[in-house]
């Protein structure tokens, strides 16, 4: 991550401590605090405070109107033992992550490799593949909701004309989650762009050497490409999993959790408990407990991925 700072800037740092810096140290510190003040205040107010407060609320019963009442681990006990909606929510979230993350990584990498070749028009493909990422989520998700409409949607129309079996898509409890994931995968261009940057930073000499040695395309892929981009792969696994665990827009707009509990992911359940429709009392303490379950899962995923990363990521021993 700090590799960009090595080289030229390293010399600069040395020069700085020796040279004129000490003279201006006082004014530097004052200026630095002024420049960084907005971000520091923002960090304390919008990151630090909510983090602590949310942990406290998770241990209380709180409706947002009267003062929170401390209940210890009561919320968590209710979540894991009596709430009929919690385990389905956890299962739906897990299903979404297990379906979406591997597919997104495989398709994203395949697309990046496809776009990393010299053909006239490759720019067009790259641009169009990235296009869905730029469009507003609400706009594209709603569009897909209509595309997947069983009666008048484009998807079934095309499948029908090609003589392929059609589906109820979002309205079937078995197909609803795969359909949600399908809609999410339309934005795979975001994954592609990051892999593309990684692929383009692999030194060409490696490929040339492999060619001289007579390596086939598969061994080039597994012995050169994959090791060289493995740090980016690690980053992608972490980013994609944490993002997928927090999926909200797609299930909210496409299915609102249905049919049944089939797409009611944890984020949707948190939203419904914390910000219920008119007439119901918000359960902010309970929703905070759910938030913390999600948060702990995210931390665990990051920690486990990072811990086992040494098994499959390649690190260049010569870099610092």
């Amino acid at each position: 991550m700090t590799a960009v700072t090595t080289g030229g800037p390293a010399n600069r740092k040395r020069g700085r401590t020796r040279g004129g810096m000490s003279r201006n140290a006082g004014s530097d510190v004052r200026a630095a605090y002024l420049f960084i003040a907005p971000a520091v205040i923002g960090f304390l107010v919008f990151v630090g405070y909510p983090l602590i407060r949310s942990f406290y609320l998770a241990l209380t019963k709180y409706n947002g109107l009267t003062d929170p009442v401390f209940v210890g681990l009561g919320n968590f006990r209710r979540l894991f033992t009596t709430d009929p909606a919690f385990w389905p929510a956890l299962r739906a979230t897990g299903y979404l992550v297990l379906l979406y993350v591997p597919l997104s990584l495989i398709l994203g990498l395949a697309l990046a490799m496809f776009c990393n070749q010299r053909f006239a028009g490759v720019r067009v493909v790259r641009t169009l593949a990235y296009l869905p990422v730029v469009l507003p989520a609400v706009a594209t998700i709603t569009l897909w909701k209509f595309i997947l409409d069983p009666q008048v949607g484009l998807m079934n129309t095309i499948l029908d004309r090609l003589g392929l079996p059609t589906s109820l898509w979002l309205q079937s409890s078995t197909m609803s989650m795969p359909s949600v994931v399908l809609v999410m995968l339309w934005g795979v261009g975001g994954t592609m762009i990051i892999f593309l940057a990684a692929l383009q930073s692999v030194p060409t000499e490696l490929y040339e050497a492999a060619k001289v040695d007579g390596a086939g395309p598969w061994s080039v892929f597994f012995r050169i490409t994959m090791p060289m981009i493995s740090p980016i792969m690690l980053l992608q696994v972490i980013l994609q999993t944490t993002a997928a665990l927090q999926t909200f827009n797609q299930p909210k707009i496409l299915t609102n959790g249905g049919p049944g509990f089939s797409t009611k992911v944890l984020m949707l359940s948190i939203y419904e408990n914390g910000f219920p429709t008119l007439g119901r009392i918000p359960q902010l303490g309970y929703a905070s407990a759910q938030v913390w379950v999600l948060f702990v899962i995210i931390i665990a995923v990051i920690a486990l991925t990072a811990k086992f990363s040494s098994l499959w990521t390649y690190s260049d021993s010569t870099s610092d």
Binding site: M1, F43, V47, P50, R118, V125, A137, I238
Partner: protein, 302 residues
């Protein structure tokens, strides 16, 4: 094609990039173009279909079997659709919210990045790691406490929760990008400016900002996209429909209200208008989009 590595903001500024390389060809030309055509179709056909729905009459949308092209072209959908959700009002709301959060987000991230990269002060490393660490913090953790906080200070159902955080360094990714970019600028430039008697504010405004134009343009575009597309935050913080940005307005368009069938042709016509600003920006400033994420891909490379 080779525009990407050489123009990648951060990497490009510090690392020398190999000259035009010969890319290996994995598959034959014909099969490449067949696959390319398929990819383009998957990305574009849904959008084209959206336009045809926007041009169909309200009942033709429900024809069975569905027709791919409209029987009669109903251009009035582009007038009546937007009218149904008070489009001009919501558009203005979106522009104000997005405009202010772009300015705030970019400005404060550039300032913080400048301090973290070019000034020495106690706690510099610590703040850098705290900002970077907060990138991984799920946004939902803050949602409930912040909602209560905004409510208690009277910000609920105002635009302030959507704008003020941006003015307080709301996006740590931008701080990270700004710092990386500032690190790549030769320090002798500051030295020269200092000898000429320029203070830090002068250096920042008249030396650094012009030099870092690609960095803050990238950020501005990403910030525009994030704010324009944001759905959860306005959904939670705004109650009155007159204050909604387009994202919430568009979503309310098709939510089945009191058993009323959603008006798909109106919706799709309006949807196209909602997509236009990000679409125009994307095609006008495509390389900045790609740079922003490309920088993330290559700075974390080693």
């Amino acid at each position: 094609m080779t525009a990407l590595p050489t123009e990648t903001t951060v990497a490009g500024a510090t690392q020398s990039v190999a000259p035009a390389k010969k890319k290996p060809r994995l598959i034959g030309t014909t099969s490449w173009y067949v696959v390319a055509l398929f990819i383009c179709a998957v990305m574009v056909v849904p959008l084209l279909w959206m336009i045809t729905i926007g041009l169909k009459s309200r009942t033709a949308v429900f024809d069975i079997p569905p027709k791919l092209l409209p029987h009669e072209w109903t251009w009035s959908n582009f007038i009546n659709g937007p009218k149904a959700i008070h489009f001009p009002k919501l558009l203005l709301n979106s522009f104000v919210i997005t405009g202010l959060s772009v300015i705030g987000g970019v400005m404060t991230a550039m300032m913080a990045g400048y301090a973290l990269a070019r000034l020495r002060f106690p706690g510099r490393k610590m703040w850098f790691y705290l900002f970077v660490g907060s990138m991984l913090l799920p946004g939902v953790v803050g949602l409930i406490p912040l909602f209560q906080m905004y409510k208690s200070i009277g910000w609920y159902d105002t635009w302030l929760p959507l704008i003020v955080p941006a003015f307080l360094g709301g996006n740590p990714l931008f701080i990270f990008l700004a710092r990386q970019y500032f690190l790549a600028i030769p320090y002798s430039i500051d030295e020269a400016a200092k000898i000429d008697g320029a203070g830090h504010l002068r250096i920042f405004v008249s030396v650094m900002l012009p030099l870092t134009r690609p960095a803050w343009l990238t950020m501005a575009i990403l910030a525009f996209q994030a704010s324009w597309n944001d759905y959860l935050n306005p959904l939670v913080y705004l109650y009155s429909s007159g204050k909604w940005p387009l994202s919430v307005g568009m979503a309310s368009f098709i939510s089945p209200f009191a058993g009323k069938t959603p008006d798909w042709s109106y919706y799709m016509a309006t949807n196209l208008l909602y997509m236009l600003p990000p679409l125009i920006i994307f095609f006008a400033a495509q390389r900045y989009f790609i740079q922003g994420l490309g920088a993330l891909g290559s700075t974390n490379q080693k």
